[in-house]
């Protein structure tokens, strides 16, 4: 199962290496990882999407991450009310004549054409990964020349529904 794990870390040299090294050593598969600064100076946020087999492995990965001295907080936010976004850049083959046709496809996705050249168009899309996957599928017939994705970044919504109270990090099986 894919889980979204949000990490608050000290912005120190080597911290990314500590996190990815740990996941590699404990045999956890990283689907995506994104890092960036937060509202607090010296503190960064990492969003990991990891593939884990079961709850026991999930608990183990959060506990191991928590042991890192530079990691301040670990939460599995998969089942919470969250906002999650990824950005993708997609370069499609085609001349500017295709532009209006492609605009028609990407419009419902609220994507934009941000670069046009003689034989290609570049589309920018922001959204949840499944939405990005859907657009990529639609664009495939035009001939995709290049894709670059940022990986998911996410945090909790301002309001959490009471009924869906789930533990962020449990030491109890």
């Amino acid at each position: 199962m894919k889980r979204i794990i949000s990490l608050t870390v000290q912005d120190r040299s080597g911290v990314l290496n500590r996190v990815t090294g740990l996941l590699q050593r404990r045999q956890f598969n990283i689907s995506s990882i994104s890092v960036g600064p937060t509202e607090t100076e010296g503190i960064s946020k990492m969003t990991l999407v990891v593939e884990v087999e079961d709850d026991q492995r999930l608990e183990q990965v959060t506990k191991q991450l928590n042991k890192q001295i530079d990691v301040l907080k670990v939460s599995d936010i998969t089942d919470k009310a969250i906002v999650a976004r990824e950005l993708a850049l997609i370069k499609v083959a085609g001349s500017s004549q295709l532009r209006s046709e492609i605009n028609g496809i990407i419009d419902p996705f609220r994507a934009l054409i941000i670069d046009v050249s003689k034989d290609s168009l570049t589309i920018q899309i922001t959204g949840r990964p499944d939405k990005i996957d859907a657009l990529i599928d639609l664009l495939r017939p035009y001939g995709i020349k290049e894709i670059a994705r940022t990986g998911l970044t996410a945090f909790l919504r301002g309001h959490q529904p009471q009924v869906n109270e789930l533990t962020t990090y449990s030491q109890i099986k």
């Binding site: 040299s13 080597g14 050593r25 026991q56 608990e59 191991q64 001295i69 030491q171 099986k173």
Partner: protein, 575 residues
């Protein structure tokens, strides 16, 4: 940053370089001994050591691996961090085995490695290695000093991290221009700032109550005692707790000595070469109380058959160990002593364990550890028993890994904690002898015996120079079977008797070798010889090497074969 001269250092002169500051910081931390080896990138530090001589002792080893294993021995005995210094590049990479060993066995170490100057890091400079990347997965934490003003904080944090929570090695990589850099002002005294490191040491009262209730309801409870009891200095509390409720105790390999072997409730060591009684007790138990052990595979055997009927309670200061290998019903994240004191203070009815203890005692009588006496040679097990006798069971015993280690664990019945120094998790050959040096330095009044194999000893024997120079009365017992005994045993039992590269066809003359290092050496070939020589050797106030020729074919039994369950021991009785 604001810099104030407010440190009250013990040296008379004001610090002049980063290295001088470092040595002052170490003295301030109460460090009395440095285990090290100099080299280019640590020349400024060695210059500072020279200037600070008299205030701090440095012991020069002959290989970096020797220095770090000695620091591990020191840490195991004192509970204080062992402090290691090595140079950049090969100096640092030679420490890797020891760092990993300390990480696996949770030993507190603070390791200083030299690094090339900041300006040339990343240019493949002479003796440059990416020590931070190499040691990240094998340290509890590591630092590279980028600014001299950070040094006081980093040193303070390193000692704090190494010695609190679940102990472990912390490495500080110091570029040469930092240690050589002149201090214009003394940096502020370091303050610990570790928001991401707050170990839980007090148990959750709810879980303590749950465990207490489970104890009352149990009929076949067993305690599994691991090295966490050593780190928590909780042996007395463990004994009080076990005796209060009449619960039998199994110890892990590293937990030997946490519970007195002669206590009627002691079942001995569990695991691959543990006692039949200990393993069957775990197998049949209805409540398993793990205190400070990590359910290592050499203890559990095949997890499918491990304690199948037991409710599992696990007390550990490291939450990541709970539920890692064995599903746990009652998790208690805590220091072992804090948890045991709480458990003892609970008013609770004790379980009726009389029938259970009777069954276990029957097992003890029917399936004791056994070996055959051979009239033609010396049994290694007998050798360990003889050492136990001559040292009154009071010596500090260190070992490598392998057959001799298991025989020492089985036959040196430890009554007290902090007497047993062995490489458990990593299983490092060459550990025992240098570890004995550190152990002897940590406890000058104690008898220290390095029980080592003939193969492992040859990996770190160059440290014989150190025991001569330091005049340390370490007794080295080579359990010499002319083979990589455990490898040979597995080849015999599990690889169709194909003895592949595990016999050492030529050996040095260990007696002459010892003599060449100015140390007394003796070769012992029979039991009679040993009986005559042993008292004299242990009465002698100086180092002695004994090359004890034992039966080559002897195997360690009983045994849980790899992949088998804890109830499937072989060799439980003489065939």
């Amino acid at each position: 940053m604001k810099v104030e001269a407010k440190l009250d250092f013990q040296t008379s002169t004001a610090p002049k370089t980063g290295a001088d500051l470092l040595i002052d910081l170490l003295i301030n931390e109460g460090v009395d001994t440095l285990f090290g080896y100099p080299g280019g990138a640590v020349l400024p530090i060695y210059d500072a050591i020279y200037r600070a001589r008299g205030n701090i002792k440095h012991v020069l080893f002959r290989h970096e691996q020797g220095s770090i294993h000695a620091a591990e021995g020191y840490a195991r005995i004192t509970g204080k961090p062992g402090v290691v210094i090595a140079t950049s590049g090969p100096g640092a990479t030679n420490l890797v085995t020891g760092i990993t060993d300390a990480m696996m066995d949770s030993l507190p170490l603070v390791i200083f490695t030299g690094q090339v100057a900041r300006g040339v890091i990343g240019t493949d400079a002479f003796q440059e290695a990416d020590v931070m990347a190499i040691t990240t997965p094998i340290t509890k934490h590591n630092y590279q000093v980028q600014d001299i003003s950070d040094l006081p904080r980093i040193v303070k944090e390193a000692f704090h991290i190494a010695s609190t929570g679940r102990p472990g090695p912390v490495l500080i990589d110091i570029p040469k221009d930092i240690s050589a850099g002149e201090l214009s002002q003394i940096p502020e005294e370091g303050a610990i700032h570790l928001p991401g490191y707050q170990p839980t040491t007090k148990p959750n009262p709810l879980q303590i109550k749950k465990l207490t209730d489970a104890i009352t309801k149990s009929r076949k409870p067993v305690i599994l005692s691991g090295a966490g009891v050593l780190h928590g200095k909780a042996s007395k509390e463990l004994t009080a707790f076990a005796e209060k409720h009449k619960i039998p105790v199994v110890t892990t390999l590293l937990g030997l000595g946490t519970f007195p072997a002669n206590n009627p409730l002691s079942l001995g060591m569990g695991g691959m070469h543990g006692t039949y009684t200990a393993n069957m007790a775990i197998y049949e138990s209805d409540l398993l109380i793990n205190i400070g052990a990590r359910f290592d595979d050499r203890l559990t055997g095949n997890l499918k058959h491990f304690a199948p009927n037991a409710k599992v309670a696990h007390i550990d200061i490291d939450p990541a160990e709970i539920g890692k290998n064995v599903p746990t019903n009652i998790p208690i994240v805590s220091d072992s002593k804090e948890a045991l004191v709480e458990l003892i203070n609970q008013t609770a009815e004790s379980p009726d364990t009389e029938g259970w203890l009777e069954t276990l005692n029957k097992n003890k009588e029917e399936f004791p550890l056994w070996y055959k006496h051979d009239p033609n040679g010396m049994s290694p097990q007998w050798l360990i028993e003889a050492i136990h006798k001559v040292t009154n069971g009071n010596a500090v015993v260190t070992t490598d890994v392998g057959q001799h280690q298991m025989w020492a664990a089985q036959y040196y019945n430890f009554e007290k904690p902090h007497r047993w120094v062995t490489s458990g998790g990593l299983g490092t050959m060459g550990f025992g002898f240098p570890a004995a040096i550190g152990a002897q330095m940590a406890s000058p009044g104690n008898t220290v015996v390095a029980i080592v194999g003939d193969a492992g000893f040859q990996m770190t024997l160059q440290e014989l120079s150190v025991i001569y120079e330091q005049n340390l009365p370490v007794k080295i017992i080579i359990v010499n079977n002319g083979a990589l005994g455990m490898v040979r045993q597995w080849q015999e039992l599990l690889h169709g008797n194909r003895i592949s590269e595990s016999i050492l066809h030529s050996q040095p003359d260990f007696v002459k070798l010892a003599e060449s290092y100015h140390i007394r050496g003796l070769k012992i070939e029979s039991q009679e010889e040993l009986i005559t020589k042993l008292p004299e050797v242990f009465a002698y106030d100086g180092p002695v090497l004994m090359d004890c020729r034992v039966l080559q074919q002897e195997k360690v039994f009983p045994m849980i074969a790899p992949g088998k369950g804890i109830h499937e021991m072989i060799g439980v009785k003489p065939s």
